[in-house]
Amino acid sequence: MPNLPAENTQRARGDGMETTHSEMTSGQADCVPSFVTVFIANSGETGRCRTDESLLEGLRRLGKRGVPVGCRGGGCSVCKVEVVSGRYARFRPMSREYVNDRDLAEGRVLACCIRPVSALEVRAIGRMGDRLAATDKTTTGATRLIAEER
């Protein structure tokens, strides 16, 4: 588990969430995970995600493909989402190459680096993500993607 102290809870300042759901307690036998509903606007998928692991991991566990899965370490940006509504906590660093201060302030974050706190509505905005999701997932699609970028 990440050993970082939790960062600010976005849109939920001062609600004490981090003390009730920190990694510190996750190993205890009496720790029952809590779940919230996550709606992915671009794919129309809904999932019940744990609040004690990353949003991306929760969606991946359920097989929801609306948010693409990449490095799961905050380094590649394919999982970038815009949080349309709801509260979340940032719990690990995100590559600043892909997330600037304005992104952070406006809820554009990497799904592998945040945990849901309340019910969320998100939209995948990763550079590759929404385009790949929108096109066929064939090698031709992948080549076209490269051709377009050139």
């Binding site: 990440p2 590559s95 090698t139 993607l145």
Partner: protein, 309 residues
């Protein structure tokens, strides 16, 4: 032909988002040997069987990715000659003084057209693998700690101008083409595997939408059994796996692609075949990329062309 000129990959320097977390990852999970820290805060590692001081350097940064990839050459005269050859080819170089990197001699640094910084150097301290140079035993405890690759083996680097990068390695540095993936037009290379030895690749390039992007740094394991053991260790440590364990059709390596704690992809692999410069290159049309990457499942992993750090 003896191996002369550029000998092998020497070191990679990576950026990580949380230094101590990735020190733990590279030391305890991947099982590299921690070799020290320098005054810039960089942390040095090597594979247990490597004899030179280090092959991986990591540093704290606010973005992931690769700073540079370096090759060892067979002597100071070769370093000077290759620098001259690069300059004559129109590649600007600069010298980084000896000691800037721990236990490492002077380095020649240059940027290739796909945005990557490449270095050449002739000298790095021989610290040995701990087994001695007389009557050595075949392995020691370090060979079983974590995944424990024997060595850093190669890197796959992404960027727009694959052709320009390839040309410098082939025309100036003496590498040869071993395998390639080509686009529908039958000509445009999407990826190339280049060797300066009898390995199937010492460096590879993939065409990527952004310059200077890391696809992966690869580490060598001796057997497929050890690749499976690596998969167990990754899962036990919740390491995010990208592809595998499977066999690449391309280069025939048995492989796992996975990510460090900062989203930098790495590979643990074994096998492949012995390549020689006179061998005809192998070509994979892009529609055969699925089995080129994952021969067992013949399934397209779109992350191969889309996920970089």
């Amino acid at each position: 032909m003896a191996i002369t000129g550029v000998l092998r990959p020497g070191h990679a320097q990576l950026r990580v988002l949380n230094l101590e977390e990735d020190v733990k990852f590279y030391r305890d999970v991947l099982g590299l040997v921690e070799m020290g820290r320098d005054s810039y805060g960089r942390v040095y590692f090597k594979g247990w069987d490597e004899r030179d001081h280090h092959s991986l350097v990591i540093r704290q940064a606010d973005r992931a990715g690769i700073d540079l990839f370096a090759f060892k050459v067979d002597g100071v005269a070769t370093l000077d000659k290759l620098e001259g050859d690069l300059n004559a080819y129109g590649v600007e170089t600069k010298r980084i003084p000896a000691g800037e990197m721990l236990n490492t001699g002077e380095r020649v640094s240059f940027v290739i057209p796909n945005g990557h910084t490449i270095e050449l150097y002739a000298e790095k301290k021989d610290v040995g693998n701990g087994l001695g140079y007389m009557n050595p035993e075949p392995w020691n405890a370090a060979a079983e700690k974590g995944i424990a690759p024997t060595r850093m083996d190669h890197a796959l680097l992404g960027g727009v101008d694959l052709d320009g990068a390839r040309d410098i390695f082939v025309n100036v540095l003496g590498f040869y083409l071993v395998e390639e993936v080509v686009a529908e037009d039958g000509k445009t290379q999407i990826a190339v595997w280049l060797s300066c030895s009898t390995k199937t690749h010492d460096i590879a390039f993939v065409r990527a939408p952004e310059d200077g992007k890391l696809h992966h740094v690869s580490y060598w394991l001796e057997t497929w059994e050890k690749v499976l053991r690596a998969a167990d260790i990754m899962s036990m440590n919740r390491v995010p796996v990208d592809i595998g364990p499977t066999r690449h059709g391309i280069t025939r390596g048995a492989t796992i692609y996975a990510f460090d704690r900062s989203g930098n992809r790495f590979e643990t692999f074994s096998g492949g075949y012995i390549a020689y410069p006179d061998m005809h290159p192998l070509t994979w049309p892009i529609d055969h990329l699925p089995e080129g990457l994952d021969f067992a499942q013949r399934k397209l992993h779109e992350t191969f062309l889309t996920v970089f750090s």
